[in-house]
Structure formats: C-alpha cells, structure tokens
Amino acid sequence: MKILLPLFAVVALVVIAFVGVQANLQAFFGIVIPYAAVAIFIIGFIVRVFRWGSSPVPFRIPTTAGQMKSFAPWIKQNKIDNPSSRLGVFARMALEVLVFRSLFRNTKTELHDGPKLVYGSEKFLWLAGLAFHWSFLIIFVRHFRFFMQDVPTVIQIMESLDSFLQIGAPLLYLTDVVLVGAVTFLFLRRVVMPQIKFISLPADYFPLFLILGIALSGILMRYFTKVHIVGVKELVMGLLSFSPVIPAGIGSVFYIHLFLVSALLIYFPLSKLMHMGGVFLSPTRNMANNSREVRHINPWNYPVHVHTYQEYEDEFREKMKKAGLPVEKE
C-alpha cells in the first residue's frame, strides 16, 4: 500500500490533467494552476524557513568530523570537517550542498562469520543522489530557453554539452537519461533493500513517482509525440509577462507535464523536499567549532536552582573539619 498509494496518486494527477484538457480547461491547467503553484511554492518555502528560523540555536553543536583546531600549531586541524572559522564553515557547507560530503562517507556494514564486522565502501547512494540532483538542476536551467525571448549563450553551451553524444534527432540529452536512471535507482533501493524498504513511507515514494512522471512526460514531448513548441513558448512567455495566453494546438502531454510540475511545486513546501532549505539551517553543519574560544549565547538561558557551596559546607562542615579540609565558616 505504501508504494501503490503514491503511485495511484501520480496516475490520478495525470488522468486529471488529461481529462481536463479534453474538457477544454486549458486556461485552468495552463494559467490558473501554474500561477497558484508558483505562489504556493514561494510563500510556502518562505514560511517554512521562517518557522525554522523563529526557533533559536541555543547551543553550538557542530558534529566535529576531524581534528579540531588545536592549541598546538604542530597538530594539523581538519579545517573543513571540523571548521573553526566562517571560511571553514562556508567550505564545509559548500561541500555538503554541492557534492554531498557526508553521504560520500557512506559505508555498508556486513556481519561475517567469525564474527567479523566489515565496513565496505558504499558509494551508490551518494552517486545516485548526486546524479539525480545535478541532472535535475541542469534540466531545470535548460528550460530557461522557454522562459526567455533570446536563448542566452550559457544555456546554448549547456545544451550542446548535454547533447555532445550527438545521438538521434532531436539530439539526446544526457541529463534526461541520467535523471530517469537515478530516480529509478532511488526507487528500486527502497523496494529491494530491506532496511530502506522498512523505513520508507508513502511520502518517500510519492515525490519519486511524481518526478519520474515529470521526466517521462518531458521526454515523451521532446523525442516522441512532439509538441507545438512555438505555442509552448508563447504560453510560457505569456505567464512570465503576466499577460497569459492559451495558444491553440499544444498537445495534452504538455498540460500533463505542466500539471505534474505544478503538483511538485505545491507539494514541495509541505514535504520532506524542504531538505533543500533545511540543510542550510542544520546546526550540526553550519556552525564553527569555536565554543571554547568564543562564548555562544543562548537567548533563553535562565537562572537555575543550584546547590551552592555554602549549602554543601553546611551539610558536611563537621566531616570536612575532621578530615582537615578548610572551611569558610568555623
């Protein structure tokens, strides 16, 4: 059920868009929904980040992943994995966000006879994660050709690099293949690996199916069914210039694609996909390990009831004197 339910949900989204277009609701699916989705995404994202930000960071709790800055210059600090300066934190965060540094450490634990525990290298999750996120980003940026009157050179270069294999017509984009492959891998590991299957929720399958749906509908349009591309650009430019139009002759696949993208935008701020924003706010990664050098302030630090030395001495004075310990009051 936890796999089928999200699958049905995505199929339902496809059906809704298809039926909608057949019923001539192009304006709803091509204008209303996209505007609403973008608004929900932007506002939702900001609200979520703001809500996180409204809770303070009372303690400096970096996970230190290497040698700290030592008192001794002859002990070499790991300046990135255990940063003590802002620059170090910046480098740590950059590595984390751009190349998934922590995931790169991943190992696989196996119990062999002996008993012997073995920690093998396990880079597939890291590789698939990286392939997925980067190809998604490149595909997103590539789409700017539809968002701008004149296609910028950067995007033209990107496109030619992406299709350098020169396969087929229109030319095959590598990122299309990589994205579908990576998403499929990420889905399969949730089905095949018992540990991962055990922890997976419908909320883990849904975005995978949704993104796969977006990718497949896009691929369908580019390589197979062909859409009225001039019409698509007209529609998109209309949305961007706030003077929306619905050109005739755009196939229903396009509306399905657009509807799934809208669904992703709406779903994004409500879901775990917010890790995109959250990773920047993670106190174990975005703080310098300098709490012995600089006092970290907790905004809600409050006085507490303590057992004072005087109370302690009052209780043990006679025993202390007998043991020859100095006391404050005789």
């Binding site: 979520r48 809500r51 930000g53 809770s55 960071v57 009372p58 400096r60 709790i61 996970t63 230190t64 992943a65 290497g66 800055k69 030592s70 008192f71 001794a72 994995d81 255990n82 984390e96 998934f100 922590s102 995931l103 991943n106 696989k108 634990t109 119990l111 012997k116 994660g129 590991r189 018992p194 299957k197 055990f198 922890i199 419908p202 909320a203 775990k272 959250g278 990773v279 993670s282 174990t284 390990n289 012995r292 050098e293 600089v294 006092r295 970290h296 907790n298 809600w300 507490v304 303590v306 057992h307 004072t308 030395y309 302690y312 043990f316 025993k319 202390m320 007998k322 310990l325 100095p326």
Partner: protein, 538 residues
C-alpha cells in the same frame, strides 16, 4: 527483581539479523525485554532535585503510574522544545529517509532491531510530531506517517530513547547532519517531565547535586580514596605525594570524573594524574564540592545538566584559581566544549590557561578557561619537559579507542595519540571506519552503564569490541587505551565478554608508568602492581 541472564557471545551473534522483516514498523509491537532496559527511577532521587512526577515505578510492569494528563504534558513539552531548539524543529522536518544512517548505529549492528536504526528511532518521535504538529499528519494520519500518542507509543519511545547513547555517529553520515543525539536528548527531556527517568541516571544526578559527584562520595571519602592511591604510589615509586583539597589561591583547579576515584582501572589513571602533577610541582587543587567532571544531568534535562555543571565555575571562583584542567572523560568534554560556557559563563574571573611549565598559552580555550589534560600533557612532551621511559610499557600492545564525545563533539583526536606514541613502543590503530570521527561507542554511554541491561550493553559494545578483536588477532593487542571514565568501566566488561585477554587503560596511567620521577626508587612494578617488563623474575 529477578536476575537477568545475558546470552553467551556466540548466541548473541547468531541472533543478529541486519535485514528487517517486510512488516510495517508501526504494526510491530514493542516488547520491553529483560536485559535491555534499566530500572525506573526512585521517587526519593527525583525529589532531591525537584523533578516532576516522582514515584517508584517499574518498566516491566503494565502500569507505569503515569499522571492522568500525561499526553498533555508530553505534547506541551514537545511544543516548548520545538520553540526552543531549531535543531529539533529542523530535524523533525527534513529527513528524507535515505537510510545512510541505518547501519551506522552500534545498537542496530549489535541487535538487528530495526527500531534501532537511527532514522527509525527518530521516526518513532517524528510520527507523533506529524500527528500533532503538521497539517498533513493531522489530516492524513498513517498515510502521512503519523500516529496517535498512545500509552504503547509512549512506552516504545521510552524503550528506544534509552537504547541510544547519543554518540552522534549517525549524524556524521547524514547528508543534513540530523543528529539522533539531539532527538534522544529531547526525547529524554520529555520522559523526564513524566518522571520516566532511570534509576541508574537519577541516582547519580541526586548524588552529584547534593554531594558533588555521581558516586556520592562525601568529602572525607574522596580524600580517603586519594590517600589510598598515594600509598600505592609510594610503594611503587618511593615518593610520597601530598595533594591539596579545596585550597584557596591555587593556580589551577583540577576536575575529573568521580569514576576515576572509585574503581579499577580508573583509579590507575587517577594515580597517573597525581604523579604527573607532583613531578611538575604544579600549583593545583582538588575540590570536594566540584568533584565531578561528568554530567549525568545531561541525560535527564538541559536544566539539570546546567545545575550540575554550575559547580565547576562556582568553585573555581570561590577558590580564586586562574584556570581549570579537566581529566579524561567523554561526555564531560562534550558538555564542557559545547554547553558549559553558554550555560554558566562567562568565566571572566578566570584567566586564559597558560602552562606554568612550558609557557604555552591555550588560546583555543580562551573563553571556557578549561583545558583537557591531554592538551596539557601533549604540550609538556612536545617541549621535552617530561623524562619518559616508554620501555616500561613494553608489555603493552596498545590500541586507542576514541570516545564518541571527544571525537564528534569536540575533535580531540591527535593530542591523545601524540601522548600514547611517546609513552609506549607498541601502538596499533584499529580499522579506519572504527576510529577518530567514525569511532564506535563503548555501548554503555549516556547512563546506560547499569548491570540490569547487560545484554543491551554487550550488543551495543559489539562493533567496538569487534574492531579490538581485529587488532588483537593481527598485532596481539592486549591493552585498549582511552580517555573516558565510562569507557574504562564499560569497555572492561565488554572486553571480558567479547575479547577476553584485552585490558583497558586510561592514557595517563601509561604516562605515569613511563614517567621518570625525580628521586624515585628503581621501579619494580607498574601502577597495577604487576612486574615491569624485565623485572618479572624479581
């Protein structure tokens, strides 16, 4: 209460299956198994520190004698914590369940219990969070991964938050740095509000509050304990050491976990401190009031941790010392590094630590004014201030266990290693996935070092012990060095169980064995009273 038997190592290993069943985890009921949990807190100990809902209770009984409005207490408490800690809020929201953490936890590796996968330990609480604090969880329930906070859910949360040692190993591998320690800290704080503490933690907390240390040693008992060590040191070296207690005007206050005062092999480490400081002629004092470096309060609530920790600065101020040196301990140093100054600072009545022997200024501690003894000693050795004869440790083939907290909550990795390499001749590292920032917990941290949960401890200690076994088989390692009082106690048990023949030592025990003291007689034995290498015939 019935005596719980621990399965033999071979039986225990056969019971481990790292592949969970195909069931839905929410449908798997939690059974609170003997040997894997600690006894409930006693009312009297909770009352001493004014903890709420104090009562005697037993986790193995059906009725936990909860207050009527326990749900309200739990959920209000959760709301407060979400408002106070960004970490908690973010970590409740952003997990993608990638599973990178799943097989990184020593309790999962040693038990195969899928609810010990860090991600799932957090999901136990996240499911409650979703149900009461998110719209999707309120509306969609189980489909959104949400569930009601029932009494069985509460018991499950309790059971698994006391099967986490807050070691942060999972956090190292998490792409978002989600730290199960942080989630367990919140979980235990909520349990604390319901009076669901454990006896093994609340007893030491009450002791520490009233008497200054976890063991409840009264002032004269502390002195007696150290007297005993001084006698032994005199027998071994011919030198009589005369340390001071509660002395005003000393330059340095020394604070160490009270475990070092009490039982072997911690006492040998403590003898090491005494001998080193004597040899240096250090102007320092012990305190009977601030006689605990560790902080079991940290395993109950943030407030309690602060209350216990306050004694260190208060005593430093009362005695008028310049700065503080802290002994070998694990969680003590996470607290001192990441919490103390924020809670109880600024320590503006102290000075930036400067070694009176070498003149080295410890600028990296310029705010907390407290240095780790391995920093102090490494500096002495580097500057050639100690006369060392590492061959006195030639009977030892040493490996080194990094404590979780000094590794992942501080980053003190090379200072102790530098010392070890200078005081012994045979040192071998364990495999790289089990040391430094990737170190494995002893299996008994965060107040889980009781006796009634021995099976859990041995399961949790399995990955560490297995790495020791690897170097024992390969290099003949017979001594496991560490810088943590809890390690010294718990790794001894874990070695006896998993890797018989390997013993446990603090780093400063080895320092003192190698240390050539001015005016010492020719030593025949080490600090344990065993013949030194080459003196076996005497």
């Amino acid at each position: 209460m019935a005596k719980v038997t621990t399965p033999k190592p071979a039986e225990l290993v056969t019971s481990i299956d790292l592949k969970p069943s195909a069931q839905q985890w929410m449908d798997i009921p939690t059974e609170i198994k003997p040997g894997t949990f600690c006894w409930g807190a006693k009312a009297k100990n909770l009352n001493i520190v004014e903890f709420p809902n104090a009562r005697d209770w037993n986790p193995s009984e059906e009725d936990w004698k909860l207050p009527e409005n326990w749900q309200e207490i739990f959920l209000t408490g959760m709301k407060n914590l979400l408002d106070k800690y960004r970490s908690f809020k973010v970590f409740m929201d952003i997990c993608v369940r990638c599973g990178a953490c799943a097989d990184k936890c020593h309790f999962f590796i040693g038990s195969g219990d899928p609810k010990n996968m860090p991600v799932l330990r957090a999901e136990l609480l996240r499911s409650v969070y979703r149900r009461y604090f998110t719209t999707s969880g309120k509306m969609l329930g189980k489909t959104a991964g949400a569930r009601d906070l029932t009494i069985d859910v509460l018991k499950e949360l309790w059971y698994y938050f006391y099967q986490c040692t807050e070691c942060r190993r999972c956090s190292l591998f998490c792409p978002y740095g989600i730290d199960t320690a942080e989630i367990t800290i919140m979980g235990r704080e909520l349990m604390n509000q319901l009076g669901l503490n454990t006896d093994w933690i609340s007893g030491p907390v009450a002791n520490c509050y009233m008497k200054g240390n976890h063991l409840g040693l009264e002032p004269h008992a502390i002195m007696n304990s150290i007297e005993g060590m001084i006698d032994d040191i005199e027998t071994i070296t011919g030198i009589r050491i005369n340390p001071s207690f509660n002395r005003k005007g000393a330059e340095i206050l020394f604070v160490t976990p009270s475990g070092d005062l009490f039982a072997d092999p911690g006492t040998f480490t403590c003898m090491g401190y005494l001998m080193l400081f004597h040899e240096l002629g250090l102007d320092y004092t012990w305190s009977t009031y601030a006689s605990e470096g560790g902080n079991f309060g940290f395993f109950t609530s943030n407030e309690m941790a602060k209350r216990l920790n306050s004694k260190i600065y208060a005593e430093a101020k009362r005695l008028g010392v310049k700065y503080i040196i802290g002994g070998e301990c694990g969680h003590m140093w996470r607290v001192l590094t990441q919490y103390m100054d924020t809670w109880n600072g600024p320590a503006d009545f102290l000075e930036v630590p400067v070694s009176p022997i070498t003149g080295t200024r410890f600028d990296t501690s310029r705010s907390t004014k407290m240095i780790h003894i391995t920093e102090f000693t490494a500096d002495l050795i580097k500057n050639g201030k100690l006369k060392l004869d590492p061959s006195r440790n030639d009977d030892l083939i040493v490996t080194y266990h990094d404590s979780c907290n000094t590794s992942r909550g501080m980053g003190l990795l090379d200072e102790p290693r530098y010392i070890i390499r200078n005081v012994c001749n045979h040192f071998h590292e364990m495999p790289e996935n089990t040391i430094r920032e990737q170190t494995f917990c002893c299996g008994s941290g965060t107040g889980l070092n009781a006796s009634e949960n021995m099976e859990l401890r041995m399961r949790g200690g399995f990955p560490r012990a297995n790495a020791v076994k690897f170097v024992k088989d390969r290099h003949g390692v017979n001594m496991l060095a560490n810088i943590c009082a809890i390690d010294r106690a718990t790794l001894s048990a874990s070695m006896d169980y998993w890797v018989p023949g390997v013993r446990v030592t603090g780093v400063h025990e080895m320092v003192a064995n190698a240390l050539i003291m001015k005016g010492e007689k020719e030593r025949e034995t080490n600090l344990r009273g065993e013949p030194l290498p080459g003196k076996e015939g005497n």
